[in-house]
Amino acid sequence: MSLYLARRFVHAILVLFVVSVLTFALVNLAPGGPAIMTTMETTVEQREAHRIRLGLDKPIHVRFGKWLLATFRGDFGRSFNDGRPVLEVLGERLPPTLLLGAATLLVSLAAGVPIGVFSATHRYSPYDHTVTLFSFFGVSVPAFWLAIMLILLFSVELRWLPSSGIATIGTPFSIMDRLQHMIMPVVVLATVTLPQLVRFTRSALLEVLSQDYVRTARAKGMREPRVLFRHALRNALIPVATVLGLLIPRLLGGAVITETIFGWPGMGQLAVTSAIGRDYPLIMGVTVIVAAVVIAANLAVDLAYGWLDPRIRYE
């Protein structure tokens, strides 16, 4: 088990390294250089002095090394926009995104697995066909359009839910209030993850149910619910764990749009504003940190996978 973990950990570090190299290369390829002063009128001497001050006259691998070392110390530089340390900005923005992501995953799992199980046990029934139809819609709907439509319906027409933000400004902290703000973003995000989980659970369970050991259990006279929960489901959940690993990057990607539309102060919204504002230190910080989060989440999933499936541990 520890060998398995060690291997996954090394793999994770390597991937993170590659991401940072890519991001750094990207930013330094920017036309105009990585520290263009866009709005000021500068003289050639000022630009030159600025370049030297930022260390841009050194060769690129030196710059990368310095950046990497700085990153280890937690220094991601300062935002072009307001001069605040990037790490500080990231620290503010990460929790809301994690909250949204965790809530969405929870909802998707809690709803998706039972729906998938029911779909599998009642294959080709009208229920099953309806579920499949909804799944298709879920993966085909453009998230931003759904978000806008939901806002139109629930915030404008019905006035049931707030249309943006993480909490109502000026009111004291209230769980109800937070939940109200969270419902629509989570629904939009879950529209992508839930159908995939349902489909995957369904197909995983179908495959397990056709296995010999299930047949044996039934032949021995075991009652169906017990067959399902004690034997079939446990094994079906193993591939579902792998799919979770794939869904997390997609989830975070979806969070970009959702956060932007709902004014949710998270990493996704930050990514968009810094991309549009060409705030390079911030962009780099966001990309690397989000990649780190995804890699950490994948590592956790691998851990769970290794724990769930004993065969993996002894590879």
Binding site: H11, L14, V15, V18, V19, L22, T23, L26, V27, L29, A30, P31, F136, F137, V139, S140, V141, P142, A143, F144, W145, I148, M149, I151, L152, V156, R199, S203, L206, E207, S210, G245, L246, P249, L252, G253, G254, V256, I257, T260, A271, V272, S274, A275, I276, R278, Y280, I283, M284, V286, T287, V290, A291, V294, I295, N298
Partner: protein, 307 residues
């Protein structure tokens, strides 16, 4: 590889001998069967019909359109359906229908071409990994897994921040971040087929690796690639419209369904239809691609039907 049994495999024949593959080879007779199965699936056929229609509209657009999607009419903004403007006008007085059709061209073209990039990249990587195996396979697949673990949307945003928007960058960046699924599937198929008898036969008569890959293995892998491509176009269209919506994809005044939605957001209370039309188009097109791709997959390999 040892040879057991007959050296020649007849089309459709199943081989249960170890060392050869017990899968049916795609022959004209099998392909006809697949086409028949596809025709029997109503959702897939309906999807195909819609796709044909929308692509025909996109291609024939300028001929069909009598109104210019770019000409503005500041005084005639936000009008509803009228005889001249079948779907009304947008905030700058441009005709919505012609912008939708022109946007179809842009969105579909970007979607198809980005998938093209992804297919080419993924096929090459997958084929190399599957055919040569060993260290090449291990490293290529590790690279693929790493790419799959990344939140590619953020990378795309970073790239677009650096290089600006525009159709070419968007196409390249979407293509270069969605080839991984293709690579995995191609690798799986190539692994499956490289142990087939006809590959050995080809090698015996002196075919090079390249020739074997291109002329013998590729036709067997093609159906899976087509299915993945169809589903991938759906994804590419969604991604492109999301990027254009954010203002980082196709830049105005070129209409794309995505950036039409962005402009429509400001007029949500006064003219909600401006948001409904482009979004609805995206939904219908992506839905059709998904239905058709799914039907295609079922038709080509019914053994996967339990999914």
């Amino acid at each position: 590889m040892t040879h057991r049994g007959r050296a020649v495999v007849r089309p459709g024949e199943f081989r249960l001998v170890p060392g050869s593959e017990s899968v049916p080879i795609a022959t004209p007779k099998r392909r006809a069967g697949a086409a028949r199965r596809l025709r029997r699936s109503t959702p897939a056929m309906m999807a195909l019909g819609f796709l044909v229609m929308i692509h025909a509209l996109a291609v024939a657009g300028p001929v069909v359109l009598s109104l210019d999607p770019f000409s503005t009419d500041p005084l005639g903004g936000l009008q509803g359906t009228s005889a001249l403007h079948v779907l009304g006008t947008d905030e700058l007085g441009r005709d919505v229908l012609s912008r939708l059709i022109y946007g179809a061209r842009v969105s579909l073209l970007v979607g198809l071409l980005s998938m093209g990039v992804a297919i080419v990249t993924g096929s090459i990587i997958g084929a190399l990994a599957g055919y040569f195996g060993g260290a090449a396979d291990a490293w290529l697949m590790r690279f693929t897994d790493a790419m799959m673990a990344l939140p590619t949307f953020f990378l795309i945003l970073a790239v677009l921040a650096v290089f600006g928007g525009g159709p070419v960058v968007v196409m390249l960046v979407i293509g270069l971040t969605s080839w991984m699924q293709v690579a995995r599937i191609v690798r799986g198929e190539v692994l499956r087929w490289r142990v087939a008898e006809f590959v050995d036969a080809a090698r015996v008569i002196g075919a090079s690796d390249g020739q074997i890959l291109a002329r013998h293995i590729f036709p067997q892998v093609a159906p899976s690639i087509i299915v993945t491509a169809t589903l991938g176009v759906a994804f590419a269209i969604l991604t492109e419209s999301a990027l254009s919506y954010l203002g980082l994809g196709i830049q105005p005044p070129t209409p794309s369904w995505g950036n039409m939605l962005q402009h429509a957001q400001q007029y949500l209370w006064s003219a909600p239809r401006l948001a409904v039309y482009p979004g609805g188009m995206i939904l219908l097109t992506v839905l059709s691609y998904n239905f058709f791709g799914d039907g295609l997959r079922d038709a080509l390999d019914p053994s996967l039907r339990n999914v």
